[in-house]
């Protein structure tokens, strides 16, 4: 009887299937988008060149008068915070990176613009085949957008090594496989551990621990690291952009931790226990005495939140850009980055939080259970039932 209830067709299953089919269509449309055109970079980097001889998909030999080789151009790609970045470089015959430019990026727009405006790229032009071109060694990262600056540095590093070894046969320093594991990763593991442990405790201690993780999330994931969980993370998984684990351990802990918890427990550990923007709203609620209120047209608001989430994910899939539709105002709150619309939104939400309990989470956030539960609950239910059936099955041995 229970199994029938679990696997039986429900009214919502039709909507769920339609949404999944729509996402597949969006993914397919996005896969068909055009490839990178390097022509603007080639002419900018080598204005006096006579010919650009294509060597493979994204590498060129630059020829001057009488077919004299002037240098080479190629691209390198690496992961930023919200998606991959592709940079083109031009290199002279003596191994100097003469010019660099971003030719395609799927980075969160606010992070991208901040790093570009900081003239970070000026550090990368002028590097040679002898330089390590590694963030933290000979390149200074940009605080508040570390993953963006890391992605740009790695892209140039890969492109420079490619030209130096494949075309110029120059020596390059050995690659050190650096595993990035520091304070952000330690804090994230701690937050998960405390939040999970708290679930087994009741009473005042549980409340104290919850406020500890909330404030920890606010300070560390919010203000210090500016690395909250965002829709771009889900989009990256759906599109298939899996960053290098060595440099994105934080990303993997966050994604795997949340998926594991979602699959095994009803509790939304991130939202309730250490979301930094949730913490900000709860502090405002404590100050203003906000309570959960039932709003008018609550069903309309609920479906608007869901539709917004579906639209945002669809845009990311079509444009192959995980960060494009990540409309959250977390970066606006913690790093003062974002569009004018986001700043207006932030002001309204923070003021409303004094009177309404977590208005962003309950009515707008694409990561809240209101927006996603209809989509993922069934899979969780099926996975759990299957697991329980498997666990109950007697061993064949």
């Amino acid at each position: 009887m229970a199994a029938k209830k679990t696997f039986g067709w429900r009214k919502q299953d039709g909507i769920r299937l339609a949404v999944i089919a729509w996402f597949v269509t969006c993914w397919w449309i996005g896969a068909d988008r055009a490839t990178i055109d390097l022509q603007p970079f080639l002419t900018a980097a080598w204005p006096d060149a006579q010919t650009f001889e294509e060597l493979d998909g994204d590498s060129y030999r630059v020829l001057g008068g009488e077919d004299e080789v002037l240098g080479y151009v190629t691209t390198g790609t690496a992961s930023g915070y919200g998606g991959p970045l592709t940079m083109a470089i031009s290199m002279t015959l003596d191994g100097v990176v003469e010019s660099v430019a971003v030719v395609e990026h799927r980075e969160t727009p606010s992070f991208f613009r901040t790093v570009v405006d900081s003239r970070f790229l000026a550090q990368l032009a002028g590097k040679t085949n002898q330089d390590p071109i590694v963030l933290g060694e000979d390149v200074d990262g940009y605080s508040g957008a570390t993953y963006t600056s890391l992605g740009m540095t790695q892209s140039v590093h890969r492109a420079a090594r490619g030209i130096a070894t494949d075309f110029l046969e120059l020596e390059v320093p050995p690659v050190k496989r650096r595993i990035v594991f520091g304070l952000p990763e330690i804090v994230l593991i701690l937050l998960f551990t405390i939040a999970v442990s708290r679930r087994r405790i009741k009473g005042k201690l549980s409340k104290v621990l919850r406020w500890t993780t909330l404030l920890g999330g606010l300070v560390f994931l919010g203000f210090l690291f500016n690395s909250p969980f965002v829709l771009a993370h889900i989009n990256m998984v759906l599109i298939g952009y899996w960053p290098e684990w060595q440099t994105h351990i934080f990303w993997y802990i966050l994604i795997i931790g949340l998926l594991l918890f979602k699959a095994t427990d009803e509790w939304n550990v991130y939202c309730y226990d250490f979301c930094p923007f949730g913490a900000l709203q709860e502090i405002a609620a404590t100050i203003g005495g906000a309570k959960p209120k039932k709003l008018r047209w609550s069903k309309v608001l609920l479906w608007a939140q869901r539709l917004l989430t579906v639209a945002a994910i669809s845009l990311a899939l079509i444009y192959r850009n995980p960060g494009l539709s990540s409309y959250e105002i977390f970066g606006t709150a913690f790093a003062l980055e974002g569009s004018n619309f986001q700043f207006a939104l932030l002001a309204i939400i923070l003021l409303s939080s004094l009177f309404l309990y977590r208005p962003w989470c309950r009515h707008l956030c694409p990561l809240h259970k209101n927006a996603t539960e209809g989509l993922f609950d069934n899979s969780r239910r099926i996975a759990r039932t299957a697991w329980q059936k498997l666990a109950k099955k007697p061993s064949l041995a």
């Binding site: 990176v97 395609e104 959960p292 039932k294 409309y327 009515h363």
Partner: protein, 60 residues
């Protein structure tokens, strides 16, 4: 847990809060439209705005 203690009959205040949330939804839509229109700008614009050389910043 968050939903515990919700009032069941929405009043005038609830209508005004709902309208404010609808304004917020419209702001999100406006932001998305702006983000998409910026994303569809040409590769040449992207290269122009990020192009950096050893000697000096170069304009296409």
């Amino acid at each position: 847990m968050a939903e515990a203690g919700e009032k069941t009959k929405p009043g005038v205040g609830a209508t005004l809060w709902s309208l404010l949330m609808i304004v917020c939804l419209l702001l999100v839509v406006a932001h998305l439209v702006q983000a998409v229109s910026q994303d569809t700008s040409s590769e040449e614009d992207l290269i122009r705005s990020t192009f950096t050389t050893v000697a000096e910043e170069y304009s296409l």
